[in-house]
Amino acid sequence: MNLPDPPLADAMRRIEDAFSEGGEARRVPPSPDALRAAEALLFAGGEPISAKALGEKLGPGVDVAAVLMQLKSDYAGRGVQLVEAGGAWRFQSAPDLQRLFAENREAPKKLPKAALETLAVIAYHQPVTRAEIEEIRGVSLSRGSMELLLEIGWIRPRGRRRTPGRPLTFGTTDAFLSQFGLASLDALPGKDDLKALGLLDPRAAQALEVPRPSDEAAPDEEPLTEGDDAASFFVDHLGEDE
């Protein structure tokens, strides 16, 4: 969000220069020890680990990115894969082997369709307000959809629109990315295509009234500040909906 100020930028350039004397080719293949350790931590540990945390575990001098890339390619095509999801790396069973587990595991509860569609709108259009979601879906949000998503922890309030009433804007969480195996929001399927079609701006094409109008203007969003009542918002609505 903030660009480094000039002296800092200079300093960074100097550091980079100092390390890249040889030009581009300073990527060294990771040592077998680093690979084994990373493999043990990621595979046997079970908990997803961020690249940063992994780097701390592996110690200084280990090129974590190279380790991850190497492991990822080692396991590509195997029954277990290394993936990045929601800011952390994890081994998981290959998606195409899902049938192996179908009989033994109780299928997780399916998200109701209205909630899933709401989630999709939030994922693709974020930051987006409640009114904008309604505008896109052409219906009032059924009670409970947003609240359910908040409760599962897949969406979060991320700021406020600078418009009258300062409505909350919503976005998705890392837990959402993790659930759907997405490294980042850019990995949302088809996002680039939709963006190119101009279909992802929640505030586009609102000048003209079609029934179920929204009075939303198209201004900026301001991030939540401490002491904002976003938290109480959950509580109120979650409570109401029980």
């Binding site: 595979f43 046997a44 540990g45 079970g46 908990e47 997803p48 999801a85 994890r90 081994f91 998981q92 069973s93 290959a94 998606p95 899902q98 587990f101 595991r105 299928a107 997780p108 509860k109 399916k110 998200l111 109701p112 369709k113 209205a114 909630a115 899933l116 569609e117 989630l119 999709a120 709108v121 994922a123 693709y124 896109i136 879906r137 052409g138 219906v139 009032s140 059924s142 409970g144 359910l148 993790s178 659930q179 759907f180 195996g181 997405l182 949302l188 399927p189 088809g190 939709l194 079609l197 279909l199 586009a204 094409a205 000048a207 003209l208 009234e209 079609v210 029934p211 179920r212």
Partner: protein, 273 residues
């Protein structure tokens, strides 16, 4: 989520998938979330490309769909009717040659385009939801290590204390000892009962005559810490009472405030015959 909601969703899905004609749509009316959904399904059922379809055509179908539903005596929510009315209006405006439309009214072509865009956006949203649903989901399609290796946690106690606490502890401790010392000197200012008793016992062994108690009390020690004379007398009196109770001494007093006499009681005299 209640089961009825899920049932409804199932119905909705089935309806949407099977909606090949207006009849299915009529049946599905109450499971659509709103008129836009119905409109979109209608377009899809007729295999219309929303981006290319004429709004007039889609409006016709919607109106027919609503009319059919009414004929079947179905209850139709208000917003479906609002949409129907609006579409009828829009269609009529689209038929009117442009020059005849008042300047302060919106261009019906723009309205038609806005509706198309809205439908496209809804279509995109529904497609996105479908793709999201199809993504490999954690604990549905992909699974983490089923037997993760536990981390063995060891905790090292790091003792914490700051200088203020240390100084405070020292001062409180020392102040306490000052108070304690003051209390101890008060104790020492009384002649101990134990000592008085020992002295009196020694004196009584050889004593067969009555003696006033003040002549038996030890002389006060000299020095600043020494107890006052009264304390010696009081302690000796206490010791005398104790010895008398134990049958080792006898006490005698003529009247209140008269001199108090004490003498030893011989073992023999005490022994029952």
């Amino acid at each position: 989520m209640s089961d009825s909601t899920e049932d409804q969703i199932e119905l909705d899905l089935v309806a949407a998938e099977e909606a090949e004609g207006a009849e299915a749509l009529v049946i599905a009316l109450d499971v659509f979330e709103g008129p836009l959904h119905a409109l979109l399904e209608l377009a899809r059922a007729k295999k219309l490309d929303i981006a290319k379809v004429s709004v007039g055509e889609i409006a016709d179908q919607y109106l027919a769909f609503i009319a059919e539903a009414r004929a079947a005596n179905m209850e139709i929510a208000g917003d479906y009717l609002v949409m129907a009315a609006w579409l009828a209006l829009l269609k009529s405006r689209l038929l009117i040659p442009k020059p005849q439309i008042p300047v302060d009214e919106p261009d019906p072509d723009d309205l038609a385009n806005a509706l198309k865009l809205k439908l496209m956006r809804l279509d995109v949203a529904r497609a996105a939801a479908k793709r999201l649903e199809e993504m490999p989901q954690l604990d549905r399609d992909v699974f983490l290590n089923g037997q993760p290796q536990p981390t063995i946690l060891t905790k090292t106690a790091v003792w914490r204390a700051d200088l203020y606490e240390l100084l405070n502890a020292y001062c409180a401790e020392r102040a306490k000892s000052v108070r304690k010392r003051a209390y101890k000197t008060l104790v020492r200012r009384a002649y101990p009962l134990e000592a008085a008793r020992k002295k009196l016992e020694q004196a009584l062994v050889k004593l067969e005559e009555w003696r006033t108690i003040d002549t038996l009390a030890p002389l006060a020690d000299a020095g600043p810490e020494a107890p006052p004379r009264e304390s010696y007398l009081a302690s000796t009196f206490g010791a005398a009472l104790e010895l008398t109770r134990e049958g080792k001494a006898e006490l005698r007093q003529a009247e209140a405030f008269a001199p108090l006499f004490v003498r030893g009681k011989t073992e023999a005299a005490h022994e029952p015959a």
